[in-house]
């Protein structure tokens, strides 16, 4: 099972509603997976690097974090704490330094980039969305996932979306069967997954291909060659939104497009509250076919 939703806006008018629309879409998919839920949202860019971090003990871990990290990096750092997560703004080029500093303090990095913020936790979509105030978040595009765990433990780090590159995220419905072998290949290339989760391997694979200079379309095509198993992937980048299904295409997928947006759902139910859905073009993405939209 697992439920996926995605919304890519073509026009700016709906930007303030992005979080609200995505939240309703994701809650509708709750019975496809009640273990954990997460959303990646591509919001306003402030011209600085954003990093979403997580701690199981936010009260102590985040106390004075901005000042301490600022001192360590020698540049200003701001912090916005939201429940177990915090969004840090960092100076350009400080991603690696900040990650190693945070790792020493046991603080987990959910993702980083200029537009993307990621919020994910164990629990139902309704509860996770409420904890992070997803409804109030605006942006250009976003991806959500509600998980029925198969390949790794039900933990915050095992929740989707997975981000393994700047402004990149991936969600997955299915299970991969060659992820251990691919994990070794990717580790040798310097793209070591942090968890035992199969989906993170797919995210690392796409990040590695992009780092090699492949377009997102080519990287998604590569999943059909190099990844074995069942998958419907939805990916986000700073400006793009892509979908690919494995050739067998057991995992359900439906898409809708209007002049205002492109939407993805594991089921049509996820679209029921979208504006203009009654006149949208609705179709099922073809197996082994890459779909991609860019702003």
């Amino acid at each position: 099972m697992c439920g996926i939703v995605g919304l890519f806006l073509k026009k700016d008018e709906l930007r303030p509603q992005l979080g609200d629309l995505l939240t309703d879409m994701l809650i509708t998919m709750t019975d496809r997976g009640p273990d954990s839920a997460g959303i990646a949202i591509y919001g306003d860019e402030g011209g600085t690097l954003k990093m979403t971090v997580q701690s199981d003990t936010p009260a102590t871990s985040f106390a004075g974090l901005d000042a301490a990290l600022s001192a360590a990096l020698g540049a200003p750092v701001t912090m916005r704490v939201i429940d177990t997560h915090a969004v840090l703004t960092l100076p350009e080029g400080s991603d690696a330094a900040a990650r190693s500093w945070l790792a020493e303090r046991g603080i987990r990095v959910m993702g980083s980039g200029h537009a993307m913020e990621i919020f994910k936790e164990v629990g139902l979509p309704r509860d996770v969305a409420a904890r992070f105030g997803i409804r109030g978040m605006g942006g250009s595009h976003g991806i959500g996932h509600t998980r029925m765990a198969t390949e790794s433990a039900v933990t915050t780090l095992g929740a989707h979306p997975f981000s393994t590159g700047a402004d990149q995220c991936l969600v997955h419905n299915g299970s991969l069967s060659n992820h251990n072998q691919m994990r070794r290949v990717l580790t040798a290339k310097g793209f070591a997954p942090q968890t035992q989760n199969d989906t993170e391997v797919a995210a690392c694979y796409i990040s590695s291909r992009l780092a090699e200079g492949a377009s997102l379309g080519a990287a998604l095509e590569g999943t059909l060659e190099d990844l074995d198993g069942f998958f419907t992937f939805v990916v986000g980048t700073r400006t793009g939104f892509g979908v690919v299904r494995d050739p067998i295409a057991c995992k359900p997928a439906v898409m809708a497009e209007t002049e205002d947006y492109v939407a993805f759902g594991s089921e049509y139910r996820a679209f029921a509250k979208l504006p203009g859905i009654d006149t949208a073009r609705v179709w099922e993405p073809e197996p082994a076919t890459v779909y991609f939209w860019e702003r």
């Binding site: 049509y268 609705v282 099922e284 073809e286």
Partner: protein, 227 residues
């Protein structure tokens, strides 16, 4: 005409109402509003009623249908008309995977495209798809007719028994034990009737017929003692 609004009526109440319509009912026309992709909509019907679903449906719409005519004005999710026994199901839009699976009878019309595994293990149902069908359609199909006015995907009719497959467009590949067969007058007649009943504007002569080579399964009388 009765109207049921799913924005206010729960799915189970709706299905229970439709399922209790007897053969002699005078309430023959029903309209379902706001389906919003709900699963298992209008399933298990067993009366000559006409149900129009205004919108798109989720999994298993019109499953196990007997006698009833179910018309979906939008698209249908996976498993539409699964195990249908009789009656008619019409989908104006597309149908997701395994449409008409295991159907024993009746007519399923998909005016858009059908995804993968359309008519898998069909056992007597007639399926007419105005558009294309995806891969593995009519897998292990036993009897009935699958008519595809567009193209068919990979492995059409894999491990086919005695269902007849008619395709107007291209076939990406044939599955194991599925071969093209001669189109004889009786097949043109079957096709003409199905196309007319499905409202498909196509001429029977434009189609090719595919069927089982009967090499994979053998109920050969000489082997009767071995079964």
């Amino acid at each position: 005409m009765q109207t049921i609004d799913m924005a206010v009526t729960p799915l189970r109440d709706l299905n229970a109402t439709l399922q209790t319509q007897a053969g002699q009912t005078n309430q023959t026309a029903w309209v379902i509003e706001n389906p919003r992709g709900a699963h298992a909509l209008a399933v298990g019907l067993d009366a000559p009623i006409e149900v129009t679903v205004k919108g798109s449906t989720g999994y298993y719409c019109a499953g196990m249908n007997k006698q009833a005519t179910v018309h979906v004005t939008g698209s249908a999710g996976p498993g539409v008309a699964e195990n249908m026994m009789s009656g008619t199901v019409v989908i104006e839009g597309d149908a997701s995977q395994y449409a008409g699976a295991t159907g024993h009878g009746g007519l399923l019309v998909i005016k858009g495209n059908a995804a993968s595994r359309c008519g898998i293990s069909m056992k007597g149902i007639d399926i007419v798809v105005h558009g294309n069908v995806g891969h593995m359609s009519a897998f292990m199909a036993q009897s009935g007719n699958l008519v595809v006015c567009g193209d068919a995907g990979d492995a059409l009719g894999d491990s086919l028994y005695e269902a007849r497959l008619f395709v107007r467009g291209s076939v990406k590949s044939l599955g194991a034990d599925c071969i093209e067969k001669e189109m004889r007058p009786e097949h043109l007649e079957i096709l003409r009737d199905l196309l007319a009943r499905a409202g498909a504007e196509a001429r029977p002569e434009e189609f090719r017929r595919y069927g089982s080579a009967r090499q994979l399964y053998n109920f050969h009388v000489d082997h009767a003692g071995a079964y």
